[in-house]
């Protein structure tokens, strides 16, 4: 293993140096733990999501019906 180097005043190993040079900061596992901010929905987007809720309700009925009908 090559000698350690200095980054920002800290001693880093060759592996750490490799990670910092080869990956974007947002690719680091630790950075990915930070959540992305919630989206501010516009009117038509809220409408789409409410339509989706109705669709999901419809879908659940279809699946339950299918399961019960098939079980008979």
């Amino acid at each position: 293993m090559a000698a350690n180097n200095q980054i920002n005043g800290s001693t880093v190993s060759p592996d750490q140096k490799l990670v910092l040079s080869a990956l974007e900061l947002d690719q680091l596992a630790a950075r990915k733990k930070q959540p992305i901010p919630r989206r501010q929905l516009r009117g038509y987007e809220k409408l789409a999501l409410w339509s989706l809720r109705i669709y999901v309700f419809f879908m659940i009925i279809v699946v339950i019906y299918q399961v019960l009908a098939g079980a008979k």
């Binding site: 592996d15 910092l20 669709y55 699946v63």
Partner: protein
């Protein structure tokens, strides 16, 4: 490998084992890109392909291949040849969005839905995916059991050997190695090409079908329409979106790699379409011999084909079904594990050592093992399970497509990789088409006679 597990640097950046493995993969990409020249471009392609081919060949799973086989035996060479190619083109349009999303945000699909649209939709997507994936996994093990059954392998041995293969691919603890092993297995999907050649297709009929989309034996009846709706609705299934985006992130693709990600997806679509068309051609002789094969399982197809294409061809067909179930069981269980890790904020990468990724590997393996165990329960209504899977898969797509579309058009997270206007027109048309097909199929399940005016049984 560094002995330091997670050192904290002065900049506040924590480096993990997962990061180090990914950096090694990226270092090779950077080196290939820096060299230039045709061989370096080819090496770059070799390094960057993977998620797209895997997702498309993974979608050619056990039930799909049996469905193509049933189509060939029921309709012969005709309308369904170009139709199947069209469905893969639609899949390409949809899956390309996941490449851009993964490369731009470095986040998985489940994670993005959770963060951008809130916990309700995050957990909904997760539960939806989990149930759908689990039921689909059951059908994959049914295919593996049926395919190996052709060679006289007992069900328990068939299922156990599939689990061993899945486990062996995982113990590498390295995304790159896992991807290459799974890719090698996935390319075996093309075994249906020699089977089709052994069936001796009439190439003039194939050419006629491609250019005219005809014939469609029996015309457009209610039954044919339902097959079409189910096929269109099942062109893209939720696990495909979650898997390709998470795999793109795990592989470490960046904005600079999007072009190769697109080539990867297009290559996957072309290979998968080739295997699908080959399967239709392989079973078309059954149509010519008026053999009803609607409810055939893998072994029965192989047995029916044996007098026409010989024992070798029939064996290849059965092996192809086994491979289709095997690769799909690997990719589908991986997509469940990725999504669980993303939503539960647990480590989720195939680069994780077993000790650090306990929950990830546990979810992955337990999903597969539970599905495999269910297949071994005597007297289980397996055909019924397949039907429920199809209904859930088709009905679950509209929400998944809506979130995909909204995320790919979200400039805040996509930046300059937001869907371009022209592509958006195409994507909108495909999303609406797939959604309507799914809804119509759902209506037909509740009211089976709704399309009776078209004719048919």
């Amino acid at each position: 490998m560094s002995s330091v597990e997670a050192p904290k640097l002065a900049a506040g950046v924590v480096i993990t084992h997962e990061d180090i493995d990914r950096a090694h993969d990226r270092e090779r990409v950077v080196a290939a890109r820096a060299r230039g020249g045709i061989f370096s471009r080819l090496r770059l392609l070799w390094l960057l392909v993977g998620p797209g081919i895997l997702v498309m060949l993974g979608e050619n799973d056990g039930p799909s291949m049996l469905s193509y086989a049933a189509t060939g035996s029921r309709f012969g060479i005709g309308f369904f040849i170009p139709f199947v190619v069209l469905t893969f083109f639609m899949a390409l349009i949809v899956q390309e969005m996941t490449v851009r999303l993964g490369s731009a945000t470095h986040r998985g699909h489940a994670e993005l839905i959770f963060d951008r649209f809130g916990p309700f939709w995050g957990w909904f997507s997760m539960i939806d995916l989990g149930i759908g994936n689990f039921l689909t996994l059951i059908t994959e093990f049914i295919a593996i059991r049926a395919g190996l059954g052709f060679f006289g392998v007992p069900p328990w041995a068939a299922v156990l050997s599939a689990l061993v293969v899945l486990f062996l691919a995982l113990v590498t603890h390295r995304y790159w190695t896992w991807e290459r092993i799974t890719l090698a297995a996935a390319l075996f999907n093309l075994v249906f090409v020699p089977v089709a050649l052994l069936a001796g297709p009439d190439w003039r009929s194939v050419s006629h079908a491609v250019t005219t989309w005809m014939p469609l034996p029996g015309g457009l009846t209610k039954d044919t329409l339902l097959i079409l709706l189910a096929d269109i609705g099942a062109t893209v299934t939720p696990w495909m979106l979650f898997f390709q985006q998470s795999a793109t992130v795990d592989k470490g693709l960046t904005k600079r790699d999007v072009r190769f990600g697109r080539i990867d997806t297009a290559l996957g679509a072309a290979l998968a379409a080739t295997a699908a068309v080959a399967t239709i051609l392989a079973t078309a002789p059954l149509f010519a011999h008026h053999m009803s094969a609607d409810n055939f399982q893998a072994a029965e197809f192989a047995q029916a084909l044996q007098p026409l294409i010989g024992r070798f061809g029939a064996s290849l067909f059965a092996l192809g079904i086994v491979e289709a179930g095997m690769v799909a069981s690997i990719t589908i269980s991986t997509s469940s594990a990725y999504a669980f890790g993303e939503v539960a904020h647990r480590p989720h990468s195939l680069n994780l050592p077993l000790r650090q990724g306990k929950s990830f590997y546990l979810v992955l393996f337990l999903c597969a093992a539970a599905a495999a165990a269910i297949v071994l329960i005597p007297g289980l209504p397996l055909v019924y399970a397949v039907l429920v899977v199809n209904v859930i898969a088709v009905l679950a797509m509209p929400p998944a497509l809506l979130f995909l579309f909204m995320l790919a058009n979200d400039r805040e997270i996509m930046g300059d990789l937001v869907t371009p206007p022209l592509v958006n027109v195409l994507a909108t048309a495909v999303v609406i088409f797939l959604t309507l097909a799914g809804i119509l199929f759902g209506i037909s399940v509740i009211a089976p006679n709704v399309f009776a005016f078209i004719g048919g049984k």
